[in-house]
Amino acid sequence: MRHDNILGLVGALLSLLVCILALPLRLPGMTLMDIAPNWLLIWLVTWSLNRPVLIAIATGIALGLLQDGMTITDSQALIPTHTIGLAIAAGLTALLQKQRYIQEDFISVALIVFGMAVLVETIIAIQLSLFGWSLDQVWMLHQRIALTSAILSSLWSPALHFPMSRFWRWLDK
């Protein structure tokens, strides 16, 4: 393993840690209707853009497990998992880049994050519906949560994508 590979991995892990620790944080001005940007998803999209599809999916599953661990209180039996949504989002992001549908710039990354945020929240809503929650309640909440989370996450995505892509490009040189 080369030194810059290790450096890249350490950088990725550190930025991931920062994103995870930012999840429970509610800074004034960063929330909309009590919903904060989904930093984990932003990190996942940034990471998956230039990776093989399988690695992206594995990362998605790992991040889903992390987010489950941070939110699931063990007293409840049936709680939707984040692994499915994040794995699909990561796989799709990796595929998008493979097909060269879009270039890697601020706008397209923000667009991908927007779409993936809606996808992730929709998959949670589908799981909730399957678990027998009342449909009208779930889909009313889904509208609010998916849109708010998508708007906030996509607007904040350059804040993470810019330094990370600069860092990885600097490593490649």
């Binding site: 393993m1 991995l9 840690l17 995870i20 620790l21 999840l23 429970p24 944080l25 509610r26 004034p28 009590d34 919903i35 904060a36 989904n38 984990l40 399988l54 690695i55 594995a58 990362t59 599953i61 790992a62 991040l63 889903g64 497990l65 992390l66 987010q67 489950d68 661990g69 941070m70 939110t71 699931i72 209180t73 063990d74 007293s75 409840q76 709680i79 939707p80 984040h82 929240e121 949670i124 909730l128 929650w133 309640q137 909440l141 949560i145 708010t148 989370s149």
Partner: protein, 248 residues
């Protein structure tokens, strides 16, 4: 054989890393992400923000007192009828600061900076000015996680304090909850005060929860009421943790 060896030579490192990553994530999930929550607490410690929402909190305190008085009057009347009722003492609580809110838009949870080292146990209830805020669902060494009343999975057995009609209240992700009554025809009107029910297994009885905002008696299969929480759940800075052992 050569093929497999070549393949292994090319991909072994990636496979090992993927396996390590998945394993680490699984371990963290199994431990309820204790390491992450505790790290968050360590970092958040010096930045405890002081923002002013004094007015709302004071209003909530006045409301809480009104609710308490109504509840006490009601209890008094019942006591006169019954004469023999076990009195409930109010134990000392542990005050703790709120250091984080849930990490997912769908759930409503808090992270507080007190844990087993400060004597907090799972199942303890969280009070704030205004009444009930939630209960402790995960305890770590120096931090714990609280499930708020507004969480959609939080179900509280409650009672209309004026008429003793009972029901179950569910969170709605906002400062509102939905109360589903057990009876077909409950006597309830907007403005009625809602307290935790004596049949609740998760909360001690008689803690103020909120006030009835509107009622839908035609709702199937059971009538519903919209409850306004008395605690400003969106602006909690401190909560008081009262130990509570749920009767099994």
């Amino acid at each position: 054989m050569q093929l497999i060896r070549n393949w292994w030579g090319r991909y072994s490192l990636q496979l090992i890393l993927v396996g390590l990553g998945l394993g680490a994530a699984w371990t963290l999930k199994q431990t309820q992400a204790e390491v992450l929550v505790e790290t968050y607490r360590m970092i958040a410690q010096p930045f405890q923000a002081e923002y002013s929402s004094r007015q709302i909190l004071e209003n909530a305190q006045v409301l809480e007192l009104q609710y308490r008085i109504t509840e006490i009057e009601q209890q008094n009347q019942n006591l006169r009828k019954l004469l023999n009722v076990k009195s409930l003492g109010t134990p000392e609580g542990i005050w703790s600061g709120v250091i984080g809110r849930s990490s997912d838009a769908w759930w409503q949870q808090l992270v507080i900076n007190r844990g087993t080292n400060q004597g907090i146990k799972k199942g303890a209830i969280a009070l704030a000015s205004g009444g009930l805020a939630g209960r402790v669902t995960n305890v770590f060494s120096n931090s714990s996680r609280i499930l708020l009343l507004s969480d959609p999975t939080a179900q509280v057995g409650v009672m209309i304090s004026r008429t003793r009609n009972m029901g179950i209240m569910r969170g709605q992700e906002q400062n509102l909850g939905v109360l589903t009554f057990f009876e077909r025809d409950p006597s309830v009107k907007p403005g009625d005060i809602v307290v935790t029910s004596p049949h609740s297994g998760l909360f001690p009885p008689g803690i103020p929860v909120g006030r009835v905002r509107s009622i839908n008696l035609n709702r199937q299969p059971a009538p519903e009421a919209i409850i306004e929480f008395s605690v400003p759940l969106g602006q909690l800075e401190y909560v008081k943790i009262l130990p509570f052992d749920p009767p099994e």
